[in-house]
Symmetry: C2
Subunit: 203 residues, 2 copies
């Protein structure tokens, strides 16, 4: 028995916690979860297809999408805009499929405003020490930048209260199993099934 | 990172849906979930040990437990009393262990009154037709008794609204996986973890 509507799953957490790695592993495992496709104003790179990697938009189109409230969240990086089209998410879940969105904390909070019925998962480092080691391990950032990332991470952890679930990313495989369990459990929530079952009794 | 308290998981559903089989398979899989031990006034059978199979009580003791609100639920069958001691459940979850209670719908609703913070799972047949076939398959009941069981089952399905989750028992292995996912997801709920993580940030 399949419920009618899919779920929007929002996976977020501080920079360096491993959102991309966890999401990549989920994708590799073919879990029947769709991945959200973002809209952007940047130019397509070689091999990128419209509607697959991104929805490529002109700045005018993107600004119109913002004005018409067609984005669940958006942000500007340097000279380009990036955002999550509401349409895409609505279409996927209308087909009964679950869709996952991997996103920074500020973006996740925007999605929460615009789509409160989503399932919000905060990916958490085992400790602040481990988070610092992971950021340092990238070897790309100065000590000052690392300190400032840690300050932001602490502020973001304080925002955990806005989320439904907290998943510790101690091991990628363990974190992936927890996220899959959350998706399964959410699909068993009484609220999502009760109408179908009431029909069953009235048959 | 382990939360301090375990969960009370209440698995219920109409007679014939397969609660016992599903619970038995969960137990076989060694999922680190404890099984609730009931109190009863019936005499121990050969090989049954007090505190393992049941807590064996005199009728006077049992009635005192009822009066002192020491039972999460209780019922009388023929001449004996059966019930779930609150103490046992409280002790297990205080150790950070999850405990599961397999019980009829009326008992589950009593537990809900006395322990609303439990996780209430309704085990659902794929259809009323399948439920009827399962009850008939036992070959122990007359047509009238089967009809009356089906009427009760329909009433019980209407009570699904009191539960947190609905798990379809289409296949025992699939139902067991869903229950395990629910336990994992509940242990990732923000409410259960936030205090620990706030401490982490304040370190």
């Amino acid at each position: 028995m399949k419920r009618d509507k899919g779920l929007l799953i929002v996976l977020s957490g501080p920079s360096g916690v491993g959102k991309g790695t966890v999401c990549g592993e989920l994708r590799r495992q073919d879990t029947h979860i769709q991945y959200s496709v973002s809209a952007t104003t940047r130019s397509p790179r070689e091999g990128e297809a419209d509607g697959v990697n991104y929805y490529f938009k002109s700045k005018e189109e993107f600004k119109r999408m913002i004005e018409n409230n067609e984005l669940l969240e958006w942000a500007q990086y340097v000279d380009n805009y990036y955002g999550t089209p509401r349409n895409y998410v609505e279409e996927v879940i209308a087909r009964g499929q679950d869709v996952i969105l991997e996103i920074e904390v500020q973006g996740a909070l925007q999605v929460k405003e615009n789509f409160p019925e989503g399932v919000f998962i905060f990916l958490m480092p085992p400790s602040l020490k481990v988070l610092r080691e992971r950021i340092e391990g990238r070897g790309t950032e100065t000590k000052d930048l690392i300190d400032s990332r840690m300050t932001i991470a602490k502020e973001e952890i304080e925002l955990m209260d806005k989320y439904d679930y907290v998943v510790e990313n101690d091991e990628v495989s363990a974190a992936v199993e927890r996220i899959k369990a959350i998706v399964t459990a959410e699909n068993c929530k009484k609220e999502r099934l009760i109408d179908k079952y009431k029909e069953l009794v009235e048959e």
